[in-house]
Structure formats: C-alpha cells, structure tokens
Symmetry: C2
Subunit: 218 residues, 2 copies
C-alpha cells in the first residue's frame, strides 16, 4: 500500500481518492487552500482514513500523485508544490485541458502539437508523468466492470517504463484487465487521448449516457 | 442506383469507388488532371463500369460526391468544380486534414474550434456536407464484417437530416448495422471525429494493426 496524493476536490478526485482508500492506500486530498469544504467532507466520510491539505502538503505526502485538477489549472496547481515534493515521483495525469471559457462545447486549451501531459512533463522534468484514465467518466475509471463485463479499453502514455508498470498495477487493482490496457508509447501520445475528448463529449450528448467507453475491436 | 463522384485516386477513393460499383452505382473518379494514371487503372479494372475525369467533371456527373482527397487539399479540389456542379448535392466527406509537413506523427491542419467538414460546408454553403467513415481504415469502411462480426461503431455529422439519412442508407449497403451508426449532430461534430485521428494513429502504431475499430459499449 502506498501514500497517495489526490490533487483536486471535484468528482474525479473524490472518486479516485475513495477507491484508493477502499483498496487500503493512505490518501491526502490536496486543494488550493486549506480548509476546502469538499476536502473536509471527503475526510469526514472516510472516518479518518483520509487527510486533506494544500496542493503542496498533499504532493509532499504522496509517493504517487494523482492529478485530478481541472486541466486548465493543473500546471499552476502543481507549481504550488516545492520541487522536493515532486521530484522523482509518478504523476498520474487524469486531467484534460478543457476550456469552457467560450461556452459549450469546450475546446482544448492545449492541443494538436502539444498536450497537457507533455506540458506537465516538460514543466516538472524530474517527475514521471503517466497519462491515464482521461478518456472516460470517473465512475468507470474505478469500476470498469460496471459496463460490458469490464471488457473495454484504456490507455497509458509516459516516458518511464517502470512508472507505467506501477500505474498499470493500480489500474488492475481498479478492476482493469491487463489485455484492455494499451500502452500507447511516450508522453507525446497524450495528445491522442486528450484529443479524444471532443468525440467523447459528442457521444455523451448524442446518447445521453456518460457511462460508456470505447472498446478496440479487431 | 445513383451516379456518384469519387474525388481522389488514392487507396480510399479506389476502395470506396470499387464498392459503389459492386453495388451497382455508376462511378466517375475525379482527379486534378485528366489522364491521371491511377484513375485510368481504376477505370480499366472495372471493365467500363467506371469513368474518370477532372474534379470538375466528376462533380458535375455525380448526384452524390464522395470526398476522398487528402484533407489538406480538399477545399482546393472542390473549388475546381463550378457551383452548378456542387449546389444542392450531398458531399460525403471522408477526408481528414492530416498535415504531414512536419513529419510523423501528423498534426491536424484544421482543429479544435473548426474542422474540415465545417470548412467545406462553409465554403460551399449550397451543398449538404455529411462527415462519415473518417475514423477507420478504408478496408473496414466498405466491409465492416471483416472484424468483430461487423459489430463496431461509425458516425455521421451534418446539418441536413435528409442528407444524413441518404448517407446512412449507403453505409447500410456497405454492411453497417443501423444500431452501430451514431448520428452525432450537426457538422460541427466533425471536430470530434477528425480529432480522433491522432488516437487512431497511436493505436495503429502500438498494435501494428490498422484493421481495428472502436465499438461504443455501455
């Protein structure tokens, strides 16, 4: 079991953090300011098995860091942590750089020849960024068996092979079958999974159902 | 049966055109210049059931126009046709605006807040553009049964409901099940299917197999 930082107090952070606690990990939820109400509620509902702190405190606590912040604020959030709190650590980047500033549908704030995953890796070169789980609704991230008997696809991208193996172990503990976890390559492949989001949103809109995923068939 | 223009002499145009001929349609393949060698070979192999001409001649011939040109050249290709050759017609846009000018992987020349499908619709407002089939290898476009018993997903985007129905009929004649054809909405949803291409290319690279597709599972 590991000490894990979950940065972000939204639905994704709550879902990921709760699952990690259920699996026996120690979780600190990080937020911009101390005393964040959602972080306090998260700690309360987990009966002392979770803690909460600033982004910096949580990053310092975690051996592994899950980035569950809103993608357009992720770099800024991570910059609130000191280098010593980040260096050498795995950052599991679940965020997407969705820009809602011009309304719906969102565009991507980083796109095409760059990605949020790459930008985090470039900004914090001593970390090991693994893009993962950013292609689906958070409920499915931690409970793939919810649909199609758990038989659908997820992706990892990252420069460090060992870090990707560690993240795959976590995905398997969430219920993902090894055969459904596709390693796309280095962190530049985060472009593809982030650029899937517009299609994800359109499928969601067309079907009025967010509890779907894609399965690669061949 | 219809008179159909297939613009583009590459693998996609050849595959689509051959299937349309097999189904009994009259096909004219269009290319930039008269006497294009690939177009001549296409005509020859179909024993007089196909013809070839310039983009303008093919567009004028077709009641329906399939855009199978390279995406970065599609607007220019269509501009070689006179307005009277295009107005009122359905353009089935299969192209993706892949820009290989900076090597591999390609970026998208039009992306995020616009798409090739939209750009064609805006440039030729009297046509009915339907984005379709651009999310897979051309072999699967015309023979979905090649994998997974034909059970995988395809998309249509367009502003004209009747035009989308016409294109769905063609997709069904290719072997697509109605239940696997998802109407994403108006032509702006071409953004999503075009932005899927980077992930498509990464899956292809990671698996070394282009004969795959995605299936939406829920």
């Amino acid at each position: 079991m590991s000490k894990i930082a979950v940065l972000g107090t939204g639905m994704v952070g709550d879902t990921i953090g709760s699952k990690l606690i259920e699996l026996g990990h120690e979780v600190m939820m990080g937020s911009r300011t101390q005393g964040n109400e959602k972080a306090k509620a998260f700690v309360a509902k987990h009966n002392g098995k979770a803690s909460a702190g600033t982004f910096a405190e949580a990053a310092g606590f975690g051996e592994i860091i899950f980035n569950c912040t809103a993608g357009v604020g992720s770099i800024e959030a991570l910059k609130m942590a000191a280098e010593k709190d980040l260096d050498g650590k795995i950052i599991v980047d679940i965020a997407n750089p969705l820009d809602f500033s011009n309304g719906m549908p969102p565009s991507l704030a980083i796109v095409n020849t760059n990605s949020l995953g790459e930008e985090i890796q470039k900004t914090f070169p001593q970390t090991k960024v693994v893009k993962a789980l950013n292609t689906m609704w958070c409920g499915l991230m931690v409970k793939p068996a919810m649909i199609n008997g758990g038989d659908h696809s997820t992706f990892v991208s990252g420069n460090d092979a060992n870090a990707k193996e560690e993240v795959k172990k976590i995905l398997k503990s969430f219920g993902w079958n090894e055969a459904n976890i596709l390693d796309l390559g280095d962190i530049t492949t985060a472009r593809g999974t982030e650029m899937f989001l517009p299609l994800w949103l359109q499928i969601y809109t067309a079907t009025n159902n967010g509890a779907f995923n894609i399965k690669i068939v061949s």
